[in-house]
Symmetry: C2
Subunit: 647 residues, 2 copies
Amino acid sequence: MASAVNKTAHPFTKANLEDLLLKRFFYAPAFEIYGGVAGLYDYGPPGSALQANIIAEWRKHFIIEEAMLELDTTIMTPEKVFVASGHVAKFADWMVKDTKTGEVLRADHLVKNVLNERLDRDKALQEAPADPKKKSKKEVIKPLEATVKEEYESILNRLDEYSGPQLGELMKKHAILNPGTGNEVGEPVEFNLMFASNIGPVGNNTGYLRPETAQGHFVNFSRLLEFNNGALPFASAQVGRSFRNEISPRNGLLRVREFTMAEVEHFVDAADKSHPRFKEVADVKLRFLRKEIQSAGKNDIIETTIGDAVSCGMVANETLGYFLARIYLFLTKIGIQPARLRFRQHMDKEMAHYACDCWDAEIHLSSGWVECVGCADRSAFDLTQHSKATGKSLVAQKPVDPPRIIHSTEPEWNRKELGLTFKKSSQEIMKKVEALPVEELEKIRAATDNEPYKLDLASGECIELSPKYVKIVDKTTKQTVEDFTPNVIEPSFGLGRILYALLEHSYWARETDIARGVLSLPALIAPIKVLIVPISSQESFKPIIQDIATKLRKAGISSRVDSSSVSIGRRYARNDELGTPFGITVDFASVSNGTVTLRERDTMDQRIGKVDEVISVVTDLLEGTCDWDAACGRVPAYSGVQAIEGA
Amino acid sequence: MASAVNKTAHPFTKANLEDLLLKRFFYAPAFEIYGGVAGLYDYGPPGSALQANIIAEWRKHFIIEEAMLELDTTIMTPEKVFVASGHVAKFADWMVKDTKTGEVLRADHLVKNVLNERLDRDKALQEAPADPKKKSKKEVIKPLEATVKEEYESILNRLDEYSGPQLGELMKKHAILNPGTGNEVGEPVEFNLMFASNIGPVGNNTGYLRPETAQGHFVNFSRLLEFNNGALPFASAQVGRSFRNEISPRNGLLRVREFTMAEVEHFVDAADKSHPRFKEVADVKLRFLRKEIQSAGKNDIIETTIGDAVSCGMVANETLGYFLARIYLFLTKIGIQPARLRFRQHMDKEMAHYACDCWDAEIHLSSGWVECVGCADRSAFDLTQHSKATGKSLVAQKPVDPPRIIHSTEPEWNRKELGLTFKKSSQEIMKKVEALPVEELEKIRAATDNEPYKLDLASGECIELSPKYVKIVDKTTKQTVEDFTPNVIEPSFGLGRILYALLEHSYWARETDIARGVLSLPALIAPIKVLIVPISSQESFKPIIQDIATKLRKAGISSRVDSSSVSIGRRYARNDELGTPFGITVDFASVSNGTVTLRERDTMDQRIGKVDEVISVVTDLLEGTCDWDAACGRVPAYSGVQAIEGA
C-alpha cells in the first residue's frame, strides 16, 4: 500500500521553484554569461525534454486524433503579408517613457502594477495597522477610501479595454509614477511588436519575424484545400517559433520575446459551425468568465457543461465549443489542475483586430490568472484580406442543394448582321445593351423593323436596333455549386507558458524538508521516466546497469544513469527535482539475486523485484495500464527504505 | 514472390520531380500568392511529416543512442555574442553588382556558373560540331583550347579557396559578365549573411538571427557541464531553425534563407580525442576526397575504412572519425544511396574561421555534389572567445595523475611587526617582495638583522628587511586537478538539403509511364505508412475503414484514408507520388469475408488476407522484422491486381 503524502505541508514559494529550475537547468536566461537579454530563455536538457513531451502529446491529441494537416512554414515574412493581415498597422502595445531617465515601460503593465501594489499595501495595513509610535517612516500611509478601492478594482478588471490615451488619462488621474524612480512618465505612444529585418542584400525589402504562425496557414490555404481533395471543414496545424518584441519583458517564461507556439486553424463554412464530434465532449464541465461580467468590473465564474454553454448561446457555436473542451482535456491530461483553469471571454474592445469572438484558457499561477491558450473565431477576416491584397481567390466550394434555378433575360446577337451594318461600333453596342436594365431589354424585345429601339453611342450617333440584329430571350440556369470564403476557428497554444504553469502546479516540498523540492510531473510528460542508480561505483554493477538501460530503451522508455559519487539520498533528491517518476536502484542483491528496488517519487515508497518484473511494472505504470497501488501488489515492499533515503 | 521492378527505365528528370513535389505539396515557395520570396519555402503536410520522421530518426540515432544533452536555445542573439564568435567580422560572402542594372550576384557563384556553362557548351560542340551553313548565329563558337579548359577545371575545383579580390581578378582575366544582361560587374564587396534586427523598443540593441545553433551550446557550456556532474566528454544536441541572408538564392531547398538544422557539439579534452565506441564503427567503409587532392585541382576518391583513415592520419582523430562513420550510417539508413555519398575535406583557405579541420558529407544530386552535413573540429576556438569576451571561465577540470608536485619558494610574513614598523607601506612591501625573482628571495633568506635586505619603495624611501619581518620558506604542493578548455567536434546537419537529396534519390518513374512518378522512400521515414482506400463510396465500407484506421493508430502507424471519387488507379498513383509504402484496399469481399488487399508501392504487388493478418504483416514490415518476400509468404497473391491498377 502506498504511503500518504502531504503535498501542501509548505506553502508554495516561487523563489524556491525558480532556484530549482535554474539549478537543474530546466531553463536559464539566454546569454547569461553575457548578462542575459530580457525576454530570452534557453531550455536545458530537462526543459527541452519536457517541452518535447508536451509537443508529442499535443500532436497526438490534436493532429493525429483529428487527422489535421501539419505545416512547417517560414518565420521570416515579407512586409506586404503583415500589411494585409493588419499587423503592421495594429500589432502594437502602448509604452510610456520615464520623463527623466528615459526608461521605457509598458503602459497597461505600469497601471496594473502600481494599482495592485496600492491595494496590497492597503490590505496589509488593514491586517496590521501602522504603529503610530514608529515615526521613522517619512510618508504616513492612510487606508484607501472604499470608493477608491472599488475604482482600482474595476480598472484592473477592465484593463484590457483601455486605449492608449485612456491609459494616459488614468495615469494622470491616479498620479501613477514610475515606481523604480518616482518620476512622472510621458504620454503613451504605440510600439509595433514585430521584429523587423531586411531580406537580401539590397536594402528595400523589409521582412518581419512572424508574431504567430497563423499567416503561414492562411497564405497556403489553396494548396491545403487541394491536398484535402477540395473538402471542408479541415484543420491545419503547426508547431513553431514566433517572436514578439515585448517592450519590457519581466515575468520569466510568461512574457518572452521568442517562444514556441502550437496553432490549429480550423477552416469551416460560416453557415454551418456545427461539429460532428461535439457530442463526444458535450458533458465536459468548464469554468467560464463571460465578457459582460468583466465589463461590469467583476470576475464571477459560471461552471457548466460545454453542451449547455453552446445551447444557451454563451459560447457562439459547436466548433468553438468543441475546441474549448478539447483544450481543457489536453491541459488537464498533461497535469494542469482543473480547479485552477478557467475560460475567459475577451471583451469587445480587447479583442485582437482579426477576431470576432475569443475565449482564453487561463491558468491560475502564483502571479494570478495567465492566458495560456487563446481560442479565437477569426471569421473570414484573414482569407478575405489576403485575397484582396493578392487578387487571388481564396475560397472553397460547396454544393447548392437543391440546385438554385436562375431565370434571366439576355440579348442573343446576330453578330454577322451587326458587324455588316455597324462595323467597329458593334462592340460598343453589345456592351451597352448587355448593361441595360430588364425594362429596357423588354423594350428591345417589343421593337420591330418599323419601330426599332434607339440607342445613343458615345460618338453622339444614334443607331436603331431591330430583331434583325438582336433578340431578347429568357434563360434558365441551374447553379449546383457556389464559392464561399471559409471562417477560421483558431486554438493557439503558448507552449512556454503551459510548460511553466505545469511546473508551478507540480511543485511541492517534502513535509520534513522545505528545501527538498519535488516536481510531481505526470509520467506522460516527465522529462526522464526512470533514474537508474547504482548504490556504489562497484565494477560488478556496470553490466546490470547496461542491461536495464538497454531494456528500457527497447521499451521506448527514456532513462538516465546517475553514477556520480554523492550519496544515494542526494541522488534521489536531485531526481525528485527533475520530476523523474521512478527510480531503479542496483545494489549487491542485484548481483547475487538479480533483484533491484523500485522507488516511487511522490511517496518515496520502495519495492523490490527481479529486473524483468520491475521493468514490466514500470512499463505498465507509464502506459497507464496500472497505478502505483496495483504495482505494489506485484512487487513487495523493500525493507531498507528509510536507511537509504536518510543517507 | 515479388515482381521485378526496373527503376532506371527512364532517366531522372528534375522537372518531373519538382512538378510532383509542388503538386503534392511536399513544399512550395513561401508566400506564393504574393509572388514568393527567394530562398523561403513552406513545407506542406507530406514535407512536414517527412521532416518530422527524419528528425525523429536523428534523435534516436544520435541523442538517445549516445545520451546527448538536448538543448533548445533562442534564435535571436545579441550582437556581442557574434562579435566574440567572429561572425560579425567574418560570416560574409562576396557579392558583385551589375554595373548597369544594379542586380546583385554572389561572386563565386557567378564564376562557377559562367565557367561551367562555357565548359558545357564546349562539350556540346565537340559532340555535335556547329553546322557552318547555319549562319544565323551572330557569334561563332570556337572550341576551347586545352590549356584554357584545364584552367577552368582547376578554378572550379579550387573555387572555395579564392578570396574576394582574387575572384574579381578571375572575372577580369576571363571576361566574366552577368549572363542575364551581358553587362560587366563591379569589384566584389563583402556582405554579412546574418539577418539583423533590434531588440526592444530603444534603438541601440542590435540582435542577429543565429546562422547556426552552435553558439547557443557554447554560451551554456558551464550549465551543461554541471548538469553532466562535471564529467567530460559529453555532447549537447539541438534541432532548430537558423537563418542566412543569402545574396541571391536560387536552388530550391539547397540554398535557402531559413532552414532547420540539427547540430551536435561534442566537448572533449584536446589531449585525448580517442572515442570509447570507435571500434564499433572502425570497419565502416567511406569514400574520402582529401584537401591535398583538391588543392591540386583534382577530385580523386579514396575508399577505405574509417579505422584505416584514422590510423594513417588522413582523418585527424578517433572522435572525428567516429562521427563521420555515424553520419554515414544515419544517411544511408534513411535512404541516401551509399555510392552517391562522399566525405570531402575542406581546403585550408576554405575552412570556416572557427574550424581547424572539417569534412563535409556531400551527396550527389542532379546538380552535382552538395554539402549536406559538415563535421568540423572547432578546437577550443569558441569557448576561448566567449571566455575572453565575458571574463567568465569556460573550462572543465581533469585529474592530474599522478599528482603534480610543485616546489616553490615563498615569503612568510610577520604581519604584526611589519605593520608596527612600516605602517601604511606594509602592503606595498609585501606586494613588491612577492613579485621578486627567486634569486632575490634567496638574498632575503640570507639577510640578518645586521645585514638586512634593502628595498626601494615607490616614494623613493629605502627600507630594510630582516628575519624579524619576513622569512623565506620552501613549500611543496600537490596539484591533483587542472583546468582545461575543451575542444569541440561538431557534426552539423542541414535537414532541408538532406530531405531534398532523399527525394531525388527516391524518385523514379514506372517503365510503362514516365508521368507516373514514384517516391520509393524507406518505410522508416515515409510521411504516411499506409493508405486506406475503399473501392467505392459504399456505406458498408465505412465501419471497416474506421476499424482499420483505429487498429493502425493503436499500433503507432500513421495512415490516411482516400475516399475521394476518382478511380482507384488514380488514387494509387497519387499515393505512389506521396511515397506511401503500403495500401490497404477495402472492397465487397471485406464486407462478406473480412478480407482486404495489401498493395506494395514499388512492385504494385497485391496480396489478400484477413484484416488482422494484414495489419500484423504491415506492422512487421514497418518494424523491419519482415521483408516483402517474407510478407508474400504470409498473405497470398490477389488475382485482381492488373484490373485494379489499370482502372
